[in-house]
């Protein structure tokens, strides 16, 4: 009886959703069909063309003197136009990591799994660990050129440490170093923002020259900020995994 009621409610909700999303009547304010939106009426068009000043031009590879020099549009929005939001996200992650370490407690004893790992698993994990680690670092260094960035890169670093945690019995990270990395990276992000306030007049404004689109050293402060975000996220998530896998503190 309960399941039938739930199914009926879901069907009614689905009907409303679909009629709102896909109705074709003229003059309503519904969503346009997927892939058929007219970007000329949206703000995102200005962002894609890397200019909010009103000049309509396509961006080509190697062009100079852009408003935001990142080749990846998402990065130019996340770390340049909306950088203050990203600072908030980093703070949210910091608070959640703090909560986990407060609840779980930090002890130096590692939890033991019932099945011991064999030789092939250990050696294979060592090779794959380095590859995942380098991919994560690559991802946040090239955040302004290719998809990805600080958050996925940092999580990839954390997942490489997770692999080592599972494969090796005696592997453990030093929590002090993680805390130091996290603190330095987080304060450096705020310091860059304050530097922008001193030199440019606004918090987190892009103070460095933009360079040419597509080069590694371009887009001003975006690569620097993404490197700090990647280090911070990597350290925090590694700390969370370490907390989950360490023995609970006796109370």
């Amino acid at each position: 009886m309960k399941k039938i009621a739930v199914l009926l409610l879901m069907m009614i909700l689905g009907y409303f959703l679909f009629t709102n999303l896909y109705s074709t009547s003229v003059g309503n304010l519904n969503f346009p069909k997927y892939g058929e939106v007219n970007l000329k009426n949206r703000v995102s068009d200005k962002y894609i063309k890397k200019d909010v000043k009103g000049t309509e031009k396509e961006t080509i590879y190697g062009q100079k003197g852009m408003e935001s020099g990142a080749a990846n549009v998402v990065t130019s929005i996340v770390v340049d136009y909306r950088s203050f939001d990203t600072l908030g996200e980093v703070t949210v992650l910091f608070i959640s990591a703090l909560g986990v370490s407060l609840v779980m407690g930090v002890s130096n004893k590692k939890k033991r799994f019932t099945i011991p790992s064999n030789f092939i698993l250990k050696q294979g994990a060592r090779i794959i660990y380095s590859i995942i680690l380098v991919t994560g670092v690559y991802m946040f260094i090239h955040g302004h050129l290719t998809p990805g960035g600080g958050f996925p890169g940092g999580s990839m670093i954390a997942s490489s440490f997770l692999l080592m945690y599972i494969a090796e019995e005696d592997f453990k990270v030093k929590f002090e170093y993680l805390k130091i990395t996290e603190g330095i990276a987080g304060s450096a992000y705020v310091l860059i923002g304050l530097l922008g306030m001193l030199m440019g007049g606004y918090f987190l404004i892009n103070i460095l020259p933009n360079g040419s689109v597509g080069a590694l050293l371009s887009a001003g402060i975006i690569p620097i900020v993404y490197t700090f975000i990647g280090l911070k996220v990597g350290a925090e998530l590694t700390g969370i995994i370490g907390n989950f896998l360490s023995e609970e503190v006796e109370k």
């Binding site: 939890k111 990805g148 996925p152 999580s155 990839m156 997942s159 995994i241 989950f244 896998l245 609970e248």
Partner: protein, 83 residues
Amino acid sequence: MEIINVAETIVGIVLILFGILAIHTKELIHSVIYLSLMSMLAVLSFVFMRAPDVAITEAVIGSGLVTAIFVFTLLSTKRQVKE
């Protein structure tokens, strides 16, 4: 209908199926595995929708770290049968 549309539809339906299975299985560990599979298919559908940034994040966090943290939590809890 193009091939990509058919693939999108199939991935979407299987994704919903895995979501329902994750809610309705009795064993908690099976539920975690179904959630991980659902994330993998969500990665595919994000790629179909041309959002590679979201796809990378979902691949690392959704099907990697979250699954691991759920499994560790299950390892450190005990099964309790209600009388």
